[in-house]
């Protein structure tokens, strides 16, 4: 490993095709170890359920959507493999960033032409839409597209095709946020 990797220089990433292969193997390992695939939006959803359950336990238990994710034995919805997967993703990403010199100061990555404010508002709005969409589609790009397609789920395939297809279409209108 080159010790002189500098965080200020262009960050180093691995080959995307090789990254994809690793991701596929990761899903295989996840099915083997946890018996389930990966999910990113799921951990956010469980965190929401936990907060709602903390603030208004009765509402969460009577609500058709929230109650689905409350464990029957009364334990916390956060005591779930998805949450630990998310924690692992955070620290794993940090380790990768450290090894490849991407770990620098806390910063907002954006196009130089927009302000931090615009970037954060756009990211927040996009995140909200993505959260709503992932619940309609029963999974996000990890849960439906990666884990779903690896289990030959037709729904997962449709979600992936539409998610990325619509993404390509709409990218034109929002291109100024990036270029």
């Amino acid at each position: 490993m080159d010790k002189k990797i500098d965080a200020k220089k262009r960050p180093v990433y691995i080959n995307p095709y090789f990254g994809g292969l690793l991701l596929g193997l990761l899903i295989l390992a996840s099915f083997y170890i946890a018996g389930r695939g990966l999910s990113a939006s799921g951990s956010a959803k469980l965190a929401v359920v936990e907060v709602v359950h903390l603030v208004a336990p009765e509402h969460a238990e009577n609500n058709a959507y929230y109650s689905k994710f409350l464990p029957e034995d009364g334990s916390s919805p956060l005591f779930n493999w998805l949450i630990f997967g998310a924690i692992g993703t955070f620290f794993g990403g940090m380790l990768s960033g450290a090894v490849y010199g991407r770990l620098g100061k806390l910063r907002i990555e954006k196009s130089p032409k927009i302000s931090n404010r615009t970037r954060l508002i756009a990211a927040g709005a996009g995140g909200i839409l993505f959260g709503i969409g992932s619940q309609f589609g029963r999974g996000c790009s990890s849960g439906a597209a990666l884990s779903g397609t690896s289990a030959f789920s037709f729904g997962g395939l449709i979600v992936m095709a539409l998610m990325f297809g619509v993404g390509y279409l709409f990218a034109y209108f929002f291109r100024k946020l990036w270029i």
């Binding site: 010790k3 990797i5 005591f79 380790l95």
Partner: protein
């Protein structure tokens, strides 16, 4: 078939069959006590080694936190007491066979000593500091003259304090998880490691961080070794000890213990520290914070789980 009904009469609220008397106050105190011991030990050690110039954060800056950590810890201990107005009775007797007595007296000496140490460096840390009264200045000058003797006292008392945080639990022979002599050393090593993490976080000198990270790596390795041997010792002992170990090996504390203490609190920060020593850029607060959280969770888990384990059924 003839059936017999047994009534044990063993139903003492909060004590039997499960101990339910120690809550957040005790692990918080054990954590702060260990942290203070760690900082004091290295402040004393590097003073005796005449490294005050190179190890500024260790000798000057981090010890400023010690009186606060000790006082907060003592407040937590005090809150835990049932008969709070009688705490002074600990100081009417000296019992060499009682860890509580050792702890009470050690704290009695170490708290003012840590304050004197911090006070003696106040003017160096805060150049505009003024003690207002001349006699305080005179006392401080007197203390500064005897710094080396104080360093020895700090180091020795820090070790006693660090060990005591573990012995406090291991002296409970009715709780199989606690009743192991490894606990004293384990808590000492863990306290040293959290102390080092704090100093590393505060240090601005590359040299100092390098020296301390190396020591910390050794402590993390020793801590892992002790934890493994503690579990192996339990598994090789009688049924109650095996059941105590099972709490961490498939039982209800498994996830918290392995994820937050072993992986995120010891192994992962060790990897980050090794990477930093090899020249990779790592924001220094990340491994330090992880070690501190790991140390706190470790004490919560040990206090909580220990109260569940028992001999009699």
């Amino acid at each position: 078939m003839k059936e017999e009904l047994f009534i044990s009469g063993r139903d003492i609220p909060n004590i039997d069959p499960y101990l339910n008397i120690w809550h957040w106050e005790i692990p918080v105190y054990l954590f702060l006590g260990g942290l203070a011991a760690g900082i004091m030990f290295f402040a004393g050690y590097f003073t005796i080694m005449r490294k005050e110039k190179e190890m500024q954060a260790t000798v000057k800056y981090a010890p400023m936190l010690v009186p606060f950590a000790l006082v907060l810890g003592l407040i937590a201990l005090f809150l835990d007491l049932k008969h709070q107005l009688y705490f002074w009775r600990l100081y009417t007797t000296i019992r060499l066979e009682s860890p509580m007595s050792w702890g009470a007296w050690t704290l009695m000496f170490v708290t003012p000593l840590s304050m004197a140490w911090a006070a003696s460096y106040m003017k160096e840390v805060f150049p505009k500091w003024d003690w207002k009264f001349k006699f305080i200045d005179q006392i401080i000058n007197f203390i500064i003259e005897y710094r080396k003797a104080m360093a020895w006292a700090l180091m020795i008392l820090a070790v006693i304090l660090g060990v005591y945080t573990g012995i406090l639990l291991s002296a409970f022979n009715a709780r199989p998880l606690w009743n192991t002599s490894i606990l004293g050393v384990l808590f000492l090593v863990s306290g040293m490691s959290t102390g080092l993490a704090t100093i590393i976080w505060m240090s601005k000198s590359k040299y100092e961080r390098k020296v301390l990270s190396r020591i910390d790596l050794i402590f993390i390795a020793v801590e892992l070794f002790l934890i493994i041997h503690m579990l192996m010792g339990f598994l090789a002992a009688s049924e109650v000890q095996i059941e105590a170990a099972q709490l961490f090996l498939g039982g209800e504390f498994t996830v918290v213990f392995w994820v937050f203490v072993i992986i995120l609190g010891l192994i992962f920060p060790a990897i980050l520290e090794i990477l930093e020593l090899r020249g990779f850029h790592i924001p220094i607060w990340i491994p330090s914070l992880l070690i501190l959280i790991g140390g706190l969770v470790f004490r919560f888990v040990m206090v909580e789980a220990g109260q569940i384990t028992r001999y009699l059924y």
